[in-house]
Symmetry: C2
């Protein structure tokens, strides 16, 4: 039974379809919730159309990028077309395009529901916390189901049709390309709008936050959707696909191929099923604690996954060691999430200490925040290291007699699959955040009353707390996935050596005492730093453009500043600037990472690339953890001060806290999370171009 | 002739002695310069005695630490005493103590001259730029000669007496222990004083900078000496010894041992000789440009080194490939220095852009500065990677027939020796900076007139510019040195495997696809982040203590704030707080790095340690480059604004620039440069404990 690959492929397809069914049902449930307030509807519509404008432009830019990439892939990958079977080049290029399209569709669904659910949640808040929570949560769950359904569907279909695991790498690369646009582009968009709205509106012109006179205010709300909903979804789509791709590529190179592949699909399908069940158990009583409700679902899903995979392992006679590897991944993911929580939760020491430092001025806010951010790197690095080590040691004995390394790396990839198994639940929780954040803004702009504001405030705060945990999870998962991709890279290189009959020895690894590897290691480690710097500078430049536009509108539109109801700000101009600027600033950063990979590969060959990927992973994890956690820490510090501590709102400590938060914004919402995608892109480019590096490198 | 080891040992000793002779001559020359102003003498004396107080306390703490370490070394290293020849344990422990003592003496000499030369340079400024420059420069050169003379003398003596290269690692570890105290402790001291003096004096109490009423003002000036003179000297003593130690350990494991060792000593001696000649060519005309004068010396020294080593290679029949490796190191060092200059020079784009961002407020100062700091990582990483690769490729053919790797690693160590060959000149230029900085303060406090102030201003500014180049040099050199130390670690492990008759295979390298290595890699990469965070938090805590003391003095000493000449602040209390606090905050950080190394080693064995060192190097370089360059960038941005740009002093842009500078201070003067030492300590601990890891590790 465990060998009946088709059975598992069909099961995976069925469960993917089920996920889409659930998404559709939830979508209709949310859409059916009452909405009557005209002001909310009006503003909500502006947000919705702004988000759609961004998405349309982004996808248009992506289409051009993807077509060029697809042609290059068709010509060169997996082997130059003049040397290879044309069919595999076609299937690679088509898989690539499917990867972008599937992810794009999931993103579109997510934006579509998020810009409805925000209004529903806002209005429901006038009735109580339960309906408001449910509207927000089920809206997020639509995104969760769509993303995971689409990723499992895509991977299964590509493998079913092509019968090749390398084509799945193409699909994964497509997903990464989209994630690069969605996450980095969305990240630049959201922070451009956020920073400009605050700086020009609150600081310079002295009008309150979320004031409808501010031309950037709608762009700011749009940003939450395109950055935190669509961007985050694309990022996790990417990680999820990459983890499956790595596991499948390695599974295909090991003995008992069918059974291994069957197991990967089976575990992934069970993860999705567990998430579906988790979504439906999500509930809370009137007066309940939303944080508890959100975390409860995660724990329920985790337990269901553990039990069902154990049952499947027993029934289908899969290997218990591999099951163990996936369980280790899930367990360590939870631990990393908790560590992240420690560094960003306002009940814990770091936030309290930074809040105290705010009293001494902004410089101390920054140095202390940077310090705790740096410290937060350690537990996650230990967690990822230990889980990789444990998974490897568990699984490598299966390869006794010369194949230990390959099995060990497969074990690591299964730990990544395990860590990402509950990704459906994670996305649901994550997308809930920006929805209720938007709802809060709508409650304020729509004057829905203090009670509703209080309710959406508490829902929003729960979203922030839960975010820390899910963010830790996703960085940890990305870490394990890219380690697994390093294994996939070796597999690809060795396949190419065999296929091309190069007559050179297969590679077994990358020795850091080789100077070529070390050279790659140093250069690879510098790339995430440069990449995040380019994104942050992009936000700065873009914000300057938008601030100039805000100034222009206040100057030229008569009566706008005075609040004349006839004077309407041109919201769409600001959205346009954020959109165009985001795409313009993002492309050089993405290309830099890809070109650096190719340069290193063509100079130093596969050994240099091995070092390069390793350096990229290590430094990428460091910066992703540092930036995400420091940013989250500053955000919560500001909120903690606003809650009345250290002088409360408008005190000097608060001003320092605002500086910290403004620095943290591009850290945590632009650069930090985009690094995950950058690492994945680099790893996939390397694997895909393995043959080229073998053929054309200088060393 | 090239084989006559004794000849080269004696030559090295003679040139070391010559360096001490030159130092003595320069010392007397500086001391003979006229000084008559009473106020300058009075303040100068306070600074001098403050610096001596710190040094005495620091050395006292060090003695305790070193004694414990020496006992542990005696019991356990190079092998546990119950298994080994007791003589080699004694020579290891004694070498360790010599390492600390030699470096301590050099530091003491440096502080002693710096606290004289500052007064001489201040007074000479009333006569013209030339005498003022010469007093500052020759004061710095005393430190340069003392440090390099002591390091070459120590290494040569240890090898001459013990005949063992492993004992040199002990000497090097002693130098590192001292550097940890001097650099990190001095760094905490100087920033504690700087930050507290500014915050309590300028910001809270509204008295000007360098105002003698401020109880922290003397501590601030003391800080320049203990941090930038003694600390920097100990750091480069450490790097210089470590590069020689790594080269000698590897040379001893290769064929033609005597000739290789002779060459290392010969090149090092020539480097010192070239620096001596360079020091004496240092000159400038009245009205000349001090930056040009300083850079000129560096170029002269570089050329002399190149020519003399080529001559020696020809005469003594050394290998040209190895000469090439050392030349590559020197060349790349210069290139890295230039890249650093680009990111911190106020004529270049980065500083200009950050200065512009200051107009939008402190948050933008920080994000743009962080961005350029992150970008500055890339050229140095490429430089280090390329020079390591080139040196390896040049030298490895000498080991044709199975010994390529060992020779290649030896080549890298020779590139490090080459890069550090002109270290005497680098220290001279570096120590010049704080001396003329102090001189500027004395001119101001002693009311020596506007012309003198202008002169010392221009000398100070030259010091800052040159610092960027020398700092790039020293980080690059540390990078290469620690790569070489990785080679030394392998050598030590394999020697131990042979000596202990363990019957296991010798190791050839560290493969990152081994999960044990990867585990080490991830943990090792997190350590520099945690280490620098601990130091920065230490500065924050310590500054809070000192600010409380400043408040107390203004409260309790009657008439102090009003400027009553009878009311004297208690300067020594502030110095005491900075001193005690610095040592208290530094020790946990240092122990953390050492203990983490031992934990990883005892868990994962030598393979995990190999990964750990690698991760530590990569991440250490990243953070050292980022922090040093971002800090330098903010410093110069503030100065650029103060020069009248973007609104000049007291504008909003200036306030934002001050925030940037205050954040940058602990980056560039505490955490950044201490990371070098942390990496070296970790690498040396690993090499020294190699035998223990082999015997006792879990995996």
């Amino acid at each position: 039974m465990g060998n009946n690959l088709l059975f598992f492929q069909v099961t995976a397809l069925v469960i993917s379809a089920l996920a889409f069914g659930v998404a559709a049902w939830l979508y209709r449930w949310v859409a059916k919730q009452p909405s009557s307030n005209k002001k909310v509807a009006e503003i909500g519509k502006l947000i919705r159309s702004g988000a759609n404008t961004f998405l349309a432009k982004e996808y248009k830019a992506l289409v051009r990028f993807a077509l060029v990439a697809a042609v290059l892939i068709f010509v060169f990958l997996p082997e130059p077309i003049w040397k290879s079977d044309i069919l595999s080049n076609i299937s690679m290029a088509v898989s690539y395009i499917c990867g972008t399209v599937f992810s794009a569709i999931a993103g579109k669904i997510g934006i579509s529901i998020a810009t409805i659910a925000n209004m529903k949640s806002a209005e429901a808040a006038t009735k109580g916390i339960k309906p408001s929570f449910m509207a927000g949560y089920r809206g997020g769950a639509v995104m969760g189901m769509a993303v995971v359904g689409a990723s499992l569907l895509g991977v299964t279909l590509v493998y079913l049709i092509t019968g090749e695991t390398t084509a799945i790498l193409g699909f994964s690369f497509g997903a990464s390309s989209l994630a690069l646009f969605a996450k980095a582009g969305g990240g630049i968009f959201t922070k451009t709008a956020d920073v400009s709205a605050d700086l020009a509106g609150k600081v310079e012109l002295g009008i309150p936050e979320d004031d409808p006179r501010n031309p950037a205010v709608i762009a700011d709300n749009v940003g939450d959707n395109v950055g935190d909903v669509a961007g985050m979804g694309a990022d996790l789509f990417d990680s999820n696909v990459a983890s499956m791709a790595a596991a499948l590529v390695m599974a295909a190179s090991l003995g008992d191929v069918k059974k291994n592949i069957a197991m990967v699909l089976c575990y992934a399908a069970i993860g999705l099923l567990a998430s579906i069940i988790g979504v439906f158990t999500a509930n809370m009583k009137e007066g309940g604690d939303p944080t508890r409700a959100l975390n409860m679902n995660t724990y329920v899903t985790t337990v269901i996954y553990g039990v069902l995979t154990a049952a499947a392992t027993y029934v289908f006679d899969f290997n218990w060691r591999i099951w163990g590897a996936s369980a280790v991944g899930l367990l360590v993911g939870t631990i990393i999430g908790m560590a992240t929580d420690y560094f960003t939760n306002d009940n814990k020491k770091p936030v309290r200490m930074v809040a105290k430092a705010c009293e001494s001025g902004p410089a101390f806010t920054i140095t202390s925040g940077v310090s705790y951010g740096l410290m937060s790197i350690l537990p996650a690095m230990i967690g990822i290291g230990v889980s990789a080590l444990a998974a490897y040691k568990l699984v490598s004995p299966l390869g006794a007699g010369g194949n230990e390394v390959a099995y060990g790396m497969f074990g690591i990839s299964m730990a990544a699959v395990g860590m990402l198994s509950i990704v459906g639940m994670i996305i649901s929780n994550d997308a809930y955040g920006p929805i209720v954040d938007n709802a809060r803004g709508l409650v304020e702009m729509g004057d829905l009353g203090d009670k509703a504001l209080e309710i959406t405030d508490s829902l929003d705060s729960a979203g922030n707390t839960v975010k820390a945990i899910t963010k830790g999870f996703s960085i940890g998962a990305a870490g394990l996935t890219v380690i697994a991709l390093l294994g996939a890279f070796i597999t690809e290189v060795n396949d190419a050596i065999e296929a091309m009959g190069l007559g050179i020895e297969k590679i077994t690894g990358f020795d850091v005492t080789s100077p070529v590897v070390f050279f790659g290691l140093l250069v690879g480690a510098a790339i995430p730093a440069v990449f995040s710097a380019m994104l942050m500078l992009g936000v700065d430049r873009n914000a300057q453009r938008m601030i100039a536009e805000i100034h222009r509108q206040f100057r030229e539109i008569v009566g706008l500043k005075e609040g004349n109801p006839e004077a309407k700000p041109e919201y769409d101009k600001c959205i346009e600037i954020a959109t165009v600027g985001a795409l313009k600033e993002l492309i050089p950063a993405g290309l830099m990472a890809i070109i650096a990979t190719l340069v290193v590969g063509f100079i130093g060959g596969v050994q240099a690339v091995g070092g390069y990927i390793t350096g990229n992973i290590v430094s990428g994890l460091i910066f992703a953890l540092f930036m995400s956690n420091a940013g989250g820490l500053w955000d919560n510090t500001k909120k903690y001060i606003e809650a009345g501590n250290h002088g409360g709102k408008n005190s000097d400590a608060h001003k320092a806290g605002v500086v910290g938060d403004t620095v943290g914004d591009p850290f945590k919402d632009t650069a930090g999370p985009s690094i995950n995608t950058q690492i994945t892109v680099v790893s996939l480019v390397s694997s895909l171009a393995a043959t080229l590096f073998l053929t054309f490198s200088i060393f």
